[in-house]
């Protein structure tokens, strides 16, 4: 991440020019805001953030669906799901 161009600005200085800083944020160009000299938060392009979140979800995607087993499975009908719900009430 540090190979991308970015800026580091104390939160105290960022407050008065938040609008301008938001305009500078784009794709991989994000701005890190510091508090007491340490990184605290970042201003990130929302589309870029959403894309990153989706990539992480894909990377950690779990599944038990095995194409070899699909022929042994079936789709439940709405009617049977409703019957199960009624039978399941304690």
């Amino acid at each position: 991440m540090l190979t991308y161009p970015f800026n580091i600005i104390p939160i105290t200085k960022a407050r008065s020019k938040l609008g301008n800083l938001a305009d500078k944020v784009s794709k991989e160009n994000y701005i890190i805001l510091t508090k007491d000299g340490s990184p605290k938060v970042a201003l990130v392009d929302i589309q870029y953030l959403t894309g990153l979140e989706n990539k992480v979800k894909q990377a950690y995607k779990k599944t038990f669906i095995d194409t070899k087993l699909l022929k042994y499975t079936r789709e439940f009908s709405d009617e049977e799901i409703k019957e199960w719900e009624e039978e399941d009430i304690l």
Binding site: F64, I65, E75, F76, I81, E85, D88
Partner: protein, 139 residues
């Protein structure tokens, strides 16, 4: 400790509702919950198609509480199961029989809680989550 084979109707319903009997069996102590790869694949397929994203997360949480059998579908057993149950349920019935569990827990009373299925499964017994809860809590 009794071993309980969880079928797709119970796992799906436990995912769908946290207050029903299916969910409650995941909280019972002194039982071993097991299932097959087919049950997991079938349930996940239906959770993805019929329910919401947050249900999928719950599905994985509940799946972590199950012991997953390594067995693969046995076509010979499935053919035998078809003689005592409707075709759509034969894979699950064969899987439960193969597991040698003490109980098969299901919400499909109509097809699984019959005399012919009872004979097929013997000594394993098919019952609903409510019946299982009663047995375990009154032991």
């Amino acid at each position: 400790m009794k071993t309980v084979f969880v079928d797709s109707s119970v796992l799906f319903s436990a995912v769908n509702s946290p207050t029903g009997g299916s969910s409650k069996i995941f909280t019972l102590k002194n039982i071993r919950l097991i299932t097959s790869k087919v049950v997991l694949a079938e349930t996940e397929r239906n959770v993805r198609n019929k329910l919401h994203d947050y249900h999928l997360e719950r599905f994985f949480i509940l799946a972590d509480k199950l012991e997953i059998l390594k067995q693969l579908p046995d076509n010979k057993l499935i053919q035998m199961a078809k003689k005592v149950i409707v075709e759509k349920d034969s894979v699950i019935l064969a899987g439960s029989y193969h597991s040698k569990a003490d109980f098969l827990v299901t919400l499909d009373q109509k097809h699984f809680l019959t005399d012919s299925v009872a004979k097929f499964l013997k000594p394993q017994k098919a019952l609903t989550p409510k019946m299982l809860i009663y047995i375990i809590e009154n032991r």
